[in-house]
Amino acid sequence: MAYIGLLSLLVVMLGLSVVLISLNWLLGPKKKESYKTYPYECGVPLYDDTAQTTFHQGYYILGLLLLLFDIEVAYLFPWAVVYSLLGVFGFLEVFLFLLILTFGLVYAWRKGALDWQFDLESL
């Protein structure tokens, strides 16, 4: 009986979603438009409708850089928790860590990974 609250929550959840979806389907206006079935791509016209052509590796490089700095933040969290214990030594270590990552960013910048107007020869 201890989990009766959880069970009722499940029932309410399922009931509410069924009710809301069926209400929407019953009461909503139905119009056929070509844009309704059009795949959404960031508000720009679709590049190709088969999604099987190659796309530029610039996307890949930007994604990689984003991932890199995501991971950097993940590394900074445990440091921030024990910051007061580590003192000056910990500050210097993290400063070096960030410095090295910054050099990585500068490198990517200099090599043209951040230029959005790609020139095939520069990459």
């Binding site: 024990v82 214990l85 580590l86 050099f103 500068v106 490198y107």
Partner: protein, 493 residues
């Protein structure tokens, strides 16, 4: 406060024991900054070569300052000892000999990347830390450092499909190897509650025996993948063929040397309880590698692939002698690793000079009559091939004889006979190459150009191959002491 305690025990003055490593790291950093600041030009290419040579020479010179010959620094995670110093010196010198070839190769093939210089430096740094630690975590980190650099260096060949394919295979299988090493390390840590290989192996007792053996074998298998031992060798010929040839030489010499060192350090600590499982796994892999590697090399039509398979077979020779965990066996293994790094690098470097001419495409028949085209190159190639085969005046003979002695001292004669059989198989392709070079008419016209640095480095390798073969005691005395010392330390525990 555990953290305070840990920080208190970090002695920064111990950095003086890491002087060569620090010089190599500074070299990598200087090259990196220079690459960011400077625009690409002919002067920059020359400058990169000379700065690399300068920093590597400084690193060699920094070995003159040696505070102590044996010391555990940084709470025992880093060991300064003669084996480490010796192998680090070898790795730096081998890199130094490779760099001029890398420069001309990339210029001629029009695939110049400045990154390759500092990636070479970083992989060298990884090799140096790999050669001087007993700590599982340090070994893991430096293994990754070397491997990731190798993946990148394999892929750095503009517009070549083979290069990308080789790098991809290397990446996937190298990743698997790292996972297996970590799995083994977890077992070893669980069995002994220590990360130091010496403490782990001497913590043997009947309760933790199973975990210890599983951990040890998994660790061995991970290194077997990295070195290219036969059931796990599939990436090696592709990666070696895909990489720019000087890089292939670098991977086959300095890289193989560095990957072998942790295994060599493990050998004295394999006690009589662990010996039977160690012996079985090592000797089966070694016998397979020697026979199959040489048999596969026999049927290759591509010269670079042939040398790659020959490199696999040589890993088998070195691994075979690890099965006899005696002082003599360890001496033979260390000797053969150093010796193979000399002759392997030499053969790949000769190939890299040949590859620079347009008519050359690595097919074996193209080597026909090479002597008519270029006397110096074909003579030095013949010296390296004879050394790889193990003909007396060269250093390869000494290595193979020592391996046989090391096996005989523990009565592992069957492996010794496999070694002789494998050598007999290998005679087929080495001698065929020499015969093609010297007796046939010229197949193609090759006019190889090499500058003074390249001439010097091939010349030095040839001289080393011959002189160390005629006077083996130059290297032997040092190695003999190293091996005795490692065994004495292991017995003290």
């Amino acid at each position: 406060m555990g953290i305070r305690l840990l920080l208190g025990s970090t002695n920064l003055y111990e950095l003086k024991y890491l002087l060569p490593e620090i010089v190599v790291f500074l070299g990598a950093f200087a090259l990196f900054l220079l690459d960011i600041v400077m625009k690409s030009s002919e002067t920059k290419k020359k400058l990169f070569l000379w700065i690399s040579v300068l920093f590597l020479s400084l690193s060699v010179l920094s070995f003159l300052y040696k505070p102590e010959f044996f010391k555990d620094v940084f709470s025992g995670t880093y060991t300064v000892d003669t084996l480490g110093i010796f192998s680090k010196l070898f790795e730096i010198i081998l890199t130094l000999l490779t760099l001029p070839f890398l420069h001309t190769y990339m210029t001629k093939k029009n695939t110049f990347y400045y990154e390759i210089y500092y990636i070479t430096f970083l992989s060298l740094l990884g090799m140096m830390t790999l050669s001087s630690s007993y700590n599982l975590v340090v070994i893991y980190v430096s293994l990754e450092m070397v491997s990731v650099s190798f993946y990148i260096m394999t892929a750095l060949f503009r517009g070549s499909f083979v290069s990308k394919e080789g790098a991809y295979k290397y990446l996937i299988i190298g990743g698997i190897s790292i996972i297996i090493a970590l799995y083994g390390a977890a077992f070893m840590y669980g069995a002994s509650k220590s990360l130091d290989i010496r403490a782990i192996m001497s913590s043997y007792n009947p309760q933790n025996a199973l975990y210890l053996i599983v951990g040890m074998i998994l660790f061995l298998l991970a290194f077997a993948i990295k070195i290219g031992i036969i059931p796990f060798h599939f990436w090696l010929p592709d990666a070696y063929t895909g990489a720019p040839t000087p890089i292939t030489g670098f991977m086959a010499s300095a890289g193989k040397l560095a990957f072998f060192i942790p295994l060599l350090r493990l050998v004295p600590y394999v006690n009589q309880h662990l010996y039977s499982s160690w012996m079985i796994s090592v000797s089966i892999m070694a016998a397979l590698t020697m026979i199959v590697g040489n048999a596969l090399a026999l049927v290759q039509a591509d010269l670079k692939r042939l040398l790659a398979y020959s490199s696999i077979a040589h890993s088998g020779y070195i691994l075979s002698v690890l099965s006899s965990n005696s002082s003599m066996g360890l001496k033979a293994a260390i000797y053969f690793v150093f010796v193979y790094s000399i002759m392997g690098l030499g053969s790949f470097l000769v190939l890299s000079v040949l590859e620079q001419s347009d008519t050359w495409d690595n097919q074996i028949y193209k080597i026909g009559g090479l002597y008519r085209n270029t006397g110096f190159l074909s003579l030095s190639f013949a010296v390296f091939l004879f050394a790889l085969l193990g003909i007396p005046p060269t250093v390869g003979f000494v290595g193979k004889a020592l391996v046989f002695l090391g096996l005989a001292i523990k009565n592992i004669y069957w492996l010794g006979f496999v070694l002789i059989l494998a050598t007999a198989i290998s005679t087929g392709y080495y001698v065929r190459l020499v015969m093609l070079m010297f007796t046939k008419d010229a197949e193609i016209r090759i006019k190889p150009e090499y500058d003074i640095l390249e001439n010097l480095s091939i010349g030095l390798l040839v001289v080393l191959t011959l002189v160390l073969g005629m006077f083996p005691f130059i290297l032997w005395n040092g190695i003999s002491n190293i091996s005795e010392f490692l065994f004495r330390l292991a017995n003290l525990r």
